[in-house]
């Protein structure tokens, strides 16, 4: 499978602060990939690097086979981007914003974009600053989709929206990209959104990739097993244990064992995606300790 984004040892440093460090990952083409991690994990930095809005301090990044720094025109024409704050020109009307999209993008889909906004009941003659937060988010997404991108980068697309607006936005997103097979990389810290929309997952923490893979595969590989209390140091020493919680009489482990069965005396419990993600985020070393076979990355 080819990659829409491919990074090798990518790093970004602001002064002495590392925003992203030794980051090597592949974002598969034609999929909706979630970039998950706590605040400050480097998600925004990674997306801006992919858009050429930042330059890497070290390492390489290729977007659709091109360097965003050296060939900005080729990358920009094929990649849509919505920044975290969803900036728009507040004094532009919705129509002005669409006109901007038409003027500044050669592959602009005027009719489709208009239809998308009208369908959502967004008045075209209204000033952007008078739109609700949800409508502004819709307009931002429409602007990014209107350039008919091969790759769509969304930084927290549904954050700070009420549940209805969030659902509407994500539905819009899934509908729009399903038809064209657009690759999407979206950052989020809302696992529920990720579960609804995404089929591939990258966990980023403290500027490093903790885990990457297809969500279905990752769920198959990971198990929550509960059994008699075991020695915490033994659990910590086991490379397949992602996280361990020890109660008085029981130990609950999240383990990564492809096709593995629970050992005798242990039972398997349901493992939600949220538990899985949190296990890696709470325990950042786990990701680097579990050796991920090279072929598996981004597969």
């Amino acid at each position: 499978m080819t990659s829409a984004i491919s990074t090798t040892a990518l790093a970004k440093r602001y002064g002495r602060q590392w925003a992203l460090r030794d980051c090597s990952l592949e974002v598969p083409e034609g999929r909706i990939t979630a970039l998950v991690g706590p605040n400050g994990a480097g998600k925004t930095t990674l997306l801006k690097l992919a858009m050429g809005l930042l330059a890497p301090s070290y390492g390489e990044i290729e977007v659709l086979g091109r360097s965003p720094q050296r060939e900005p025109a080729l990358v920009l024409a094929r990649v849509g981007y919505v920044a975290q704050e969803r900036p728009l020109y507040p004094r532009f009307t919705v129509s002005d914003t669409l006109r901007m999209g038409r003027e500044m993008n050669s592959r602009w889909d005027d009719a489709g974009t208009r239809e998308r906004l009208v369908k959502r009941g967004i008045p075209l003659d209204r000033q952007v600053r008078r739109l609700s937060g949800g409508e502004q988010a819709q307009l931002s997404l429409a602007l990014a989709l209107g350039k008919r991108p091969d790759l769509l980068l969304l930084d927290e697309p549904a954050s700070s929206l009420d549940p209805l607006a969030r659902r509407a936005l994500l539905t819009e997103l899934v509908d729009a990209v399903a038809a064209d097979g657009t690759t999407v990389l979206l950052s989020s810290h809302l696992i529920a959104d990720v579960e609804r929309v995404c089929d591939h997952l990258v966990i980023l923490s403290r500027g490093r990739v903790q885990l990457a893979g297809d969500i279905d595969t990752l769920r198959e590989e990971h198990q929550m097993i509960v059994g008699p209390r075991m020695d915490p140091t033994a659990a910590a020493a086991d490379p397949t244990v992602v996280s361990a919680r020890h109660a008085e009489r029981e130990s609950a482990l999240i383990v990564r064992r492809a096709g593995g069965l629970a050992p005798g005396g242990w039972r398997t419990e349901a493992l939600s995606l949220e538990d899985l993600v949190l296990a890696y985020l709470e325990n950042p070393i786990a990701g680097s300790r579990v050796p991920v076979p090279a072929a598996e990355v981004g597969s």
């Binding site: 858009m51 809005l53 930042l54 330059a55 900005p72 025109a73 920009l76 024409a77 990649v79 849509g80 981007y81 920044a83 704050e85 900036p87 728009l88 020109y89 507040p90 532009f92 002005d96 006109r99 901007m100 999209g101 003027e103 500044m104 993008n105 050669s106 592959r107 602007l143 990014a144 350039k147």
Partner: protein
């Protein structure tokens, strides 16, 4: 980018035109006032000389009124004429990049298919073109005012070309482009709109005052001339009996760079001290009724060294000053371009 630039700057275009129209209207009003005062002078001052003593006072009054009004008007035109380029830098140049960065909208602009390089060059280029057109209009208004004043002010201290140096067409256009480039560069460096506006205003005033005050007199070495010290009384004598020009120097068309106070010689060519000159001038009798000023005989023949730039150098100096400011503008835009491309 043309539409985008127009959409983002259309209010500035409207406001700029309004300012120019107001300026042109003010200039026209001042001119009409000047003509009115001229009519009074013509009525009060008999055209033949020597003047009957009775009418001299009335003539002197209306002449003084015209000259005072003319002074105020001329200063007003010069101040506004040089303030407009500063306004262009502060209100158009400074926010151009700074407001985008401040509001985060650069992330929208720079994530469309137009690469950042083209975004910057097209936007700055179009705005600079518009500003240059506005500057040309401003220069035309200034020149119109100037021509009307010169046409009516003959013999009454009508302005020399040099008095309007700052609103000469090449210089005005260069000032506007410089102010704009300064604003864009300050905005890209400071990244905040209001501080960038303040820095632009301060920078523009400092640079224009420094160049005008220190560099301009020396674009070419000034010519020198010796002039009778009594010539400095000429403006008090309506009949113009005292000499206003020494050899080669003409007060009404040349730019007096330095009056050369302290560099006096007598008729024989020997140096005369400042104290002696002050004492002699203190003994001059200036009658209140408009009669001729009389000074001690010893004052006759004392001359001072003055340096000046002749009228023939005016357009050369305009070209030199315009070139200086265009080079500065180019350097500032190159800096702004580098800053914008490096913003990551």
């Amino acid at each position: 980018m043309v539409w985008m630039t127009w959409r983002q700057h259309r209010w500035e275009v409207a406001l700029g035109l309004a300012v120019l129209v107001a300026f042109g209207g003010g200039v026209l009003l001042l001119t009409l006032l000047g003509w009115h005062l001229m009519g009074q002078i013509a009525g009060a001052c008999p055209s033949t000389t020597p003047n009957p003593a009775a009418s001299i006072a009335a003539c002197a009054d209306s002449t003084a009124e015209y000259q005072n009004g003319f002074q105020v008007g001329w200063q007003w035109v010069l101040i506004v004429g040089t303030a407009i380029p500063a306004l262009a830098g502060v209100f158009v140049g400074a926010p151009l990049v700074a407001r985008e960065l401040e509001k985060g909208t650069h992330l929208v602009a720079w994530s469309q298919s137009v690469p950042r390089r083209r975004w910057f060059l097209a936007r700055v280029g179009l705005v600079a073109g518009g500003a240059a057109a506005g500057a040309a209009l401003l220069a035309a208004i200034g020149q119109g005012w100037f021509a009307m004043q010169r046409g009516t002010g003959d013999g009454l201290g009508g302005p020399s070309l040099w008095a309007g140096f700052e609103i000469g067409p090449p210089v005005v256009i260069a000032y506007v482009l410089f102010a704009l480039a300064l604003g864009v560069a300050m905005g890209a460096a400071i990244r905040r709109t209001v501080p960038a506006m303040a820095a632009t205003l301060v920078g523009f005033v400092v640079v224009t005052v420094a160049v005008g005050g220190f560099a301009r007199p020396h674009y070419l070495a000034p010519l020198t001339s010796r002039q009778s010290i009594l010539g400095s009384f000429s403006s008090l004598v309506p009949s113009g009996s005292a000499p206003t020009s020494g050899p080669g120097f003409n007060l009404s068309s040349d730019w007096l760079v330095n009056l050369g106070i302290g560099n006096y010689t007598n008729a024989a060519g020997h140096p005369v001290s400042d104290a002696t000159v002050n004492e002699l001038l203190g003994q001059c009798n200036i009658p209140n009724d408009g009669g001729a000023t009389t000074c001690p005989a010893a004052a006759n023949g004392i001359t001072q060294l003055l340096s000046y730039q002749p009228a023939s150098r005016f357009w050369l100096f305009q070209g030199i000053e315009a070139a200086i400011f265009l080079v500065l503008a180019g350097a500032l835009l190159a800096l702004a371009y580098r800053l914008v491309m490096r913003l990551r």
